[in-house]
Protein backbone atom coordinates (compact mmCIF):
# COMPACT_ATOMS: atom_id res chain seq x y z
CA UNK A 1 0.00 0.00 0.00
CA UNK A 2 0.98 3.64 -0.20
CA UNK A 3 3.43 4.89 2.34
CA UNK A 4 3.93 8.33 3.86
CA UNK A 5 4.28 10.87 1.10
CA UNK A 6 6.15 14.14 1.47
CA UNK A 7 6.45 17.02 -0.93
CA UNK A 8 8.48 18.60 -2.27
CA UNK A 9 11.39 16.19 -2.07
CA UNK A 10 13.82 19.08 -2.40
CA UNK A 11 13.38 22.77 -1.74
CA UNK A 12 15.92 25.53 -2.19
CA UNK A 13 14.90 28.90 -0.87
CA UNK A 14 16.45 32.24 -0.14
CA UNK A 15 17.03 33.40 3.38
CA UNK A 16 14.01 35.28 4.66
CA UNK A 17 11.44 33.52 2.50
CA UNK A 18 8.62 31.37 3.86
CA UNK A 19 8.33 27.68 2.97
CA UNK A 20 5.61 25.08 3.32
CA UNK A 21 6.31 21.37 3.54
CA UNK A 22 3.57 18.85 3.06
CA UNK A 23 2.99 15.39 4.50
CA UNK A 24 0.36 12.85 3.46
CA UNK A 25 0.26 10.11 6.12
CA UNK A 26 -0.80 6.54 5.59
CA UNK A 27 -4.57 6.26 5.53
CA UNK A 28 -5.96 5.44 8.95
CA UNK A 29 -2.89 6.59 10.84
CA UNK A 30 -4.03 9.03 13.46
CA UNK A 31 -0.59 9.83 14.87
CA UNK A 32 1.67 12.11 12.86
CA UNK A 33 5.14 13.36 13.70
CA UNK A 34 7.51 15.91 12.22
CA UNK A 35 11.24 15.48 12.78
CA UNK A 36 14.27 17.34 11.51
CA UNK A 37 17.44 15.51 10.54
CA UNK A 38 20.68 17.40 10.19
CA UNK A 39 24.33 16.37 10.20
CA UNK A 40 25.59 15.59 13.66
CA UNK A 41 22.24 16.32 15.28
CA UNK A 42 20.42 13.11 14.61
CA UNK A 43 16.65 13.20 14.56
CA UNK A 44 15.21 16.21 16.30
CA UNK A 45 11.56 16.02 17.31
CA UNK A 46 9.49 19.00 16.18
CA UNK A 47 5.78 18.35 16.65
CA UNK A 48 3.34 15.48 17.23
CA UNK A 49 -0.33 15.20 16.33
CA UNK A 50 -2.51 12.49 17.84
CA UNK A 51 -6.08 12.36 16.63
CA UNK A 52 -8.13 15.31 17.84
CA UNK A 53 -5.90 16.05 20.81
CA UNK A 54 -3.98 19.29 21.04
CA UNK A 55 -0.63 18.80 19.30
CA UNK A 56 2.60 18.52 21.23
CA UNK A 57 4.57 21.48 19.93
CA UNK A 58 7.37 21.24 22.47
CA UNK A 59 10.02 20.50 19.84
CA UNK A 60 9.47 23.50 17.59
CA UNK A 61 12.73 25.48 17.73
CA UNK A 62 11.23 28.94 17.38
CA UNK A 63 7.98 30.78 16.68
CA UNK A 64 8.95 30.87 13.00
CA UNK A 65 7.94 27.22 12.88
CA UNK A 66 4.32 26.10 12.86
CA UNK A 67 2.38 23.08 11.72
CA UNK A 68 -1.20 22.16 11.22
CA UNK A 69 -3.09 19.06 10.37
CA UNK A 70 -6.35 19.52 8.55
CA UNK A 71 -9.12 16.96 8.80
CA UNK A 72 -6.90 14.63 10.75
CA UNK A 73 -4.96 13.70 7.64
CA UNK A 74 -2.62 15.93 5.64
CA UNK A 75 -0.16 18.03 7.59
CA UNK A 76 1.73 21.17 6.60
CA UNK A 77 4.89 22.39 8.29
CA UNK A 78 5.51 26.09 7.72
CA UNK A 79 8.77 27.88 8.31
CA UNK A 80 8.59 31.65 8.15
CA UNK A 81 11.53 33.95 7.42
CA UNK A 82 13.86 31.01 6.81
CA UNK A 83 17.41 31.11 8.12
CA UNK A 84 20.44 29.17 6.95
CA UNK A 85 20.40 27.08 10.11
CA UNK A 86 16.98 25.79 9.04
CA UNK A 87 18.67 23.79 6.29
CA UNK A 88 18.02 20.12 7.02
CA UNK A 89 15.94 17.16 5.96
CA UNK A 90 12.44 17.42 7.36
CA UNK A 91 10.88 14.03 7.99
CA UNK A 92 7.27 13.16 8.52
CA UNK A 93 6.13 9.91 10.09
CA UNK A 94 2.74 8.43 10.87
CA UNK A 95 1.46 5.53 12.88
CA UNK A 96 -1.68 3.95 14.22
CA UNK A 97 -2.89 5.37 17.54
CA UNK A 98 -0.37 5.48 20.36
CA UNK A 99 -1.47 4.66 23.86
CA UNK A 100 -0.66 2.77 27.00
CA UNK A 101 -1.82 -0.60 25.78
CA UNK A 102 -1.39 -0.23 22.09
CA UNK A 103 1.63 0.91 20.20
CA UNK A 104 2.72 0.76 16.64
CA UNK A 105 5.96 1.71 14.93
CA UNK A 106 6.39 4.85 12.92
CA UNK A 107 6.36 4.80 9.16
CA UNK A 108 8.57 7.49 7.72
CA UNK A 109 8.36 9.42 4.50
CA UNK A 110 11.40 10.11 2.34
CA UNK A 111 11.69 13.62 3.70
CA UNK A 112 12.03 17.09 2.24
CA UNK A 113 15.58 18.36 1.88
CA UNK A 114 15.47 22.09 2.60
CA UNK A 115 18.39 24.27 1.63
CA UNK A 116 18.35 27.92 2.65
CA UNK A 117 20.82 30.02 0.69
Amino acid sequence: GAGVSQSPSNKVTEKGKDVELRCDPISGHTALYWYRQSLGQGLEFLIYFQGNSAPDKSGLPSDRFSAERTGGSVSTLTIQRTQQEDSAVYLCASSRPQGISYNSPLHFGNGTRLTVT
Binding site: G42, L43, D56, N103, L106
Partner: protein, 114 residues
Protein backbone atom coordinates in the same frame (compact mmCIF):
# COMPACT_ATOMS: atom_id res chain seq x y z
CA UNK B 1 10.99 14.06 29.46
CA UNK B 2 12.88 11.12 28.11
CA UNK B 3 16.26 11.30 26.36
CA UNK B 4 18.42 8.86 24.43
CA UNK B 5 22.18 8.58 24.19
CA UNK B 6 23.99 6.58 21.54
CA UNK B 7 27.60 5.98 22.40
CA UNK B 8 29.22 5.93 19.00
CA UNK B 9 28.69 8.32 16.14
CA UNK B 10 30.67 6.24 13.66
CA UNK B 11 31.59 2.56 13.63
CA UNK B 12 33.71 0.86 11.00
CA UNK B 13 33.80 -2.93 10.79
CA UNK B 14 34.94 -5.60 8.40
CA UNK B 15 32.47 -8.15 7.09
CA UNK B 16 31.83 -11.04 9.50
CA UNK B 17 32.80 -8.95 12.52
CA UNK B 18 30.40 -8.81 15.44
CA UNK B 19 28.46 -5.64 16.11
CA UNK B 20 27.21 -4.00 19.26
CA UNK B 21 25.80 -0.47 19.22
CA UNK B 22 25.19 1.11 22.58
CA UNK B 23 22.00 2.90 23.56
CA UNK B 24 21.07 4.33 26.93
CA UNK B 25 17.94 6.21 27.82
CA UNK B 26 16.83 8.31 30.71
CA UNK B 27 13.29 8.04 31.98
CA UNK B 28 11.97 6.95 35.33
CA UNK B 29 8.93 5.04 34.18
CA UNK B 30 7.98 2.29 31.80
CA UNK B 31 9.25 2.71 28.27
CA UNK B 32 8.92 1.29 24.80
CA UNK B 33 12.21 0.99 22.93
CA UNK B 34 13.01 0.89 19.24
CA UNK B 35 15.85 0.64 16.79
CA UNK B 36 15.36 2.21 13.38
CA UNK B 37 17.69 1.91 10.42
CA UNK B 38 18.25 4.20 7.45
CA UNK B 39 20.04 2.62 4.50
CA UNK B 40 21.77 4.98 2.06
CA UNK B 41 19.19 6.85 0.02
CA UNK B 42 16.26 5.21 1.76
CA UNK B 43 13.81 6.29 4.43
CA UNK B 44 13.92 5.28 8.06
CA UNK B 45 12.45 1.90 8.82
CA UNK B 46 11.87 -0.14 11.94
CA UNK B 47 14.51 -2.73 12.79
CA UNK B 48 13.07 -4.05 16.05
CA UNK B 49 11.07 -2.98 19.07
CA UNK B 50 10.57 -3.81 22.73
CA UNK B 51 7.25 -3.25 24.48
CA UNK B 52 7.13 -5.86 27.24
CA UNK B 53 7.96 -9.48 28.04
CA UNK B 54 11.21 -11.12 26.96
CA UNK B 55 13.91 -8.45 27.18
CA UNK B 56 15.79 -10.05 24.30
CA UNK B 57 14.08 -9.07 21.09
CA UNK B 58 14.88 -10.19 17.60
CA UNK B 59 14.41 -8.07 14.54
CA UNK B 60 14.92 -8.29 10.84
CA UNK B 61 18.16 -9.29 9.11
CA UNK B 62 19.60 -11.10 12.13
CA UNK B 63 19.64 -8.13 14.48
CA UNK B 64 18.72 -8.42 18.12
CA UNK B 65 18.64 -6.11 21.11
CA UNK B 66 18.54 -6.65 24.83
CA UNK B 67 16.67 -4.43 27.24
CA UNK B 68 18.48 -4.22 30.57
CA UNK B 69 16.23 -2.22 32.83
CA UNK B 70 18.78 -1.80 35.61
CA UNK B 71 21.21 -0.21 33.18
CA UNK B 72 18.61 1.76 31.20
CA UNK B 73 20.15 0.21 28.11
CA UNK B 74 18.91 -1.27 24.84
CA UNK B 75 22.01 -2.26 22.91
CA UNK B 76 21.77 -3.53 19.36
CA UNK B 77 23.75 -6.61 18.34
CA UNK B 78 24.48 -8.74 15.32
CA UNK B 79 26.91 -11.68 15.42
CA UNK B 80 28.26 -11.24 11.91
CA UNK B 81 27.75 -8.08 9.86
CA UNK B 82 27.50 -7.86 6.11
CA UNK B 83 28.41 -5.10 3.70
CA UNK B 84 24.68 -4.52 3.18
CA UNK B 85 24.34 -3.54 6.85
CA UNK B 86 26.06 -0.24 6.07
CA UNK B 87 23.52 2.29 7.28
CA UNK B 88 22.70 4.75 10.02
CA UNK B 89 21.10 3.26 13.12
CA UNK B 90 18.87 5.18 15.50
CA UNK B 91 17.77 4.15 18.95
CA UNK B 92 14.46 5.60 20.13
CA UNK B 93 12.44 5.62 23.31
CA UNK B 94 8.86 6.41 24.11
CA UNK B 95 7.36 6.69 27.56
CA UNK B 96 4.61 4.13 27.94
CA UNK B 97 1.90 6.64 28.66
CA UNK B 98 -1.20 7.56 26.76
CA UNK B 99 0.30 10.49 24.90
CA UNK B 100 4.03 10.51 24.50
CA UNK B 101 6.41 11.45 21.75
CA UNK B 102 9.12 9.21 20.34
CA UNK B 103 12.57 10.52 21.14
CA UNK B 104 15.52 9.50 18.98
CA UNK B 105 19.22 9.35 19.65
CA UNK B 106 21.68 11.14 17.38
CA UNK B 107 22.34 7.97 15.40
CA UNK B 108 25.32 5.75 14.71
CA UNK B 109 26.73 5.51 11.22
CA UNK B 110 27.91 1.94 10.54
CA UNK B 111 30.27 1.34 7.67
CA UNK B 112 31.01 -2.29 6.81
CA UNK B 113 33.94 -2.85 4.52
CA UNK B 114 33.85 -5.90 2.23
Amino acid sequence: AQSVSQHNHHVILSEAASLELGCNYSYGGTVNLFWYVQYPGQHLQLLLKYFSGDPLVKGIKGFEAEFIKSKFSFNLRKPSVQWSDTAEYFCAVRANSGYSTLTFGKGTMLLVSP
